[in-house]
Symmetry: C2
Subunit: 295 residues, 2 copies
Amino acid sequence: MRLPGRPVMRDFSRGTAHLSVNTATLRKQLTLPGIVEACAARGIPAICPWRDQVAAAGLDATARQIKDAGLVLSGYCRGGFFTAADAAGLKAALEDNRRAIDEAATLGAPCLVLVVGALPGALQGTPAYTDMRLARSQVVDGIAASLDYAKAAKMPLAIEPLHPMQAADRACVNTLEQALDICDALDPERTGALGVALDTYHVWWDPKLEAQIARAGKQRLTAYHICDWLNPTRDLLNDRGMMGDGVIELKKIRGWVEAVGYTGFAEVEIFSDRWWSLSAGEVLDTCIARYQTVA
Amino acid sequence: MRLPGRPVMRDFSRGTAHLSVNTATLRKQLTLPGIVEACAARGIPAICPWRDQVAAAGLDATARQIKDAGLVLSGYCRGGFFTAADAAGLKAALEDNRRAIDEAATLGAPCLVLVVGALPGALQGTPAYTDMRLARSQVVDGIAASLDYAKAAKMPLAIEPLHPMQAADRACVNTLEQALDICDALDPERTGALGVALDTYHVWWDPKLEAQIARAGKQRLTAYHICDWLNPTRDLLNDRGMMGDGVIELKKIRGWVEAVGYTGFAEVEIFSDRWWSLSAGEVLDTCIARYQTVA
């Protein structure tokens, strides 16, 4: 019996209709053309490629190969890194984001994922400053300055809140609430031009997660990424877990996401020295099996 | 010129009047009696000891030694770990917290710090369940069930929000906002019996930090811990930085804390394989120097 008001979740137990693979998951095993081939061979209908992989394979060739293989994109990784130590750096970041938007459009991506940046230079080891409020204000300015260009290209921008353990070096947007505050400020009309990429790895711990997913609604839930939080976790970047190997309540979170009307892909994105050490086939077969059982 | 409404921060540049050392900072170098001695010898007026160290040295002997040395406590570490897989486990946790409250009272601590617990068993490697909402509800129940005992003992409980990267195994209270929500629920009269232990390491990343510190106010800011976030951070537990070696805006955060009237100690708590490998004297001298310059 279906309870009133309680939407039935999509059935993932057969097939792969809603599965996407973020190509970073296989970046150590295969080049992008090989990943496209391997996904197509297994009936995985979507991927989310990274810019460096696309650049290595060629933008137009990649667009063609993906189309010929019958795949679609669940997103394009990534724009962002809007913070900088000086005006020249801020300008360069905006220009780079425009290129990323153009590439995403050429590839037919449904959104450009934004890893917004944090303390500039921190990722390279030496932060130019430590003022988190300044970093956050530069991020808002950078998204604001990119939005018209993105709208003209009909390319939605998806802010990805990153886990607080990556607040210093990768993204100073660290909760879904904070990302939605930015959406409210820059796109109050909810045009769909600005949304969020929700990655279970980054947000699973958040006591406000369910409420903020409801707040986001379908229009702002632009992408949904899955993997698992291992217990224990041995590295802050490259020890993500395969779905089912950790503690994240994946079905519960997907239930919240689908309750607001999300109908897009569940995109598997796993940065993991362990999974990078296995064959691409084994990784993809495991992705499919876990997608069907625990995601 | 002092701007109206802008409180002057306490001057830490000379002396050690507001410095406390959490004894975990030296747990690999010295036993508790040795730490008390070393702190007293340097004019450090306060410590925050851990239960296991106190147990090893003897509760009454420790209370005596601390008093004789002229030291005071800035807190007692730690109660908490309220979650469990079954009723027996929940009961055992409550009993253990009562013992911790009694010990804190014997030692004359101003508060018992609560690391509230998370998925039960996760710290030992095997979580008994993964339902974060259940864990959080067990935590609220556990604090509620401990509060009368704590009040009778005149021992304030200080909820310590832990960094979200420790949400699975150590504490499912992960933001100051969440901790204050619990305070509001269980002690709406703001009696002072329930507050928070604010550790810069756990909360520095939070975009709502300043606002939530203002919300906490003097009555709920029961303890203030300092150390630094290293960039990069190589371990989720034991790679904390000495103040000044990382990216946390320590003076800015202390400014927010003192703006609401906090007059207590700045307690240095550093879990670090690097600092544990140095001599206790070198660590303490560095703590004093950094306290005077960057904290």
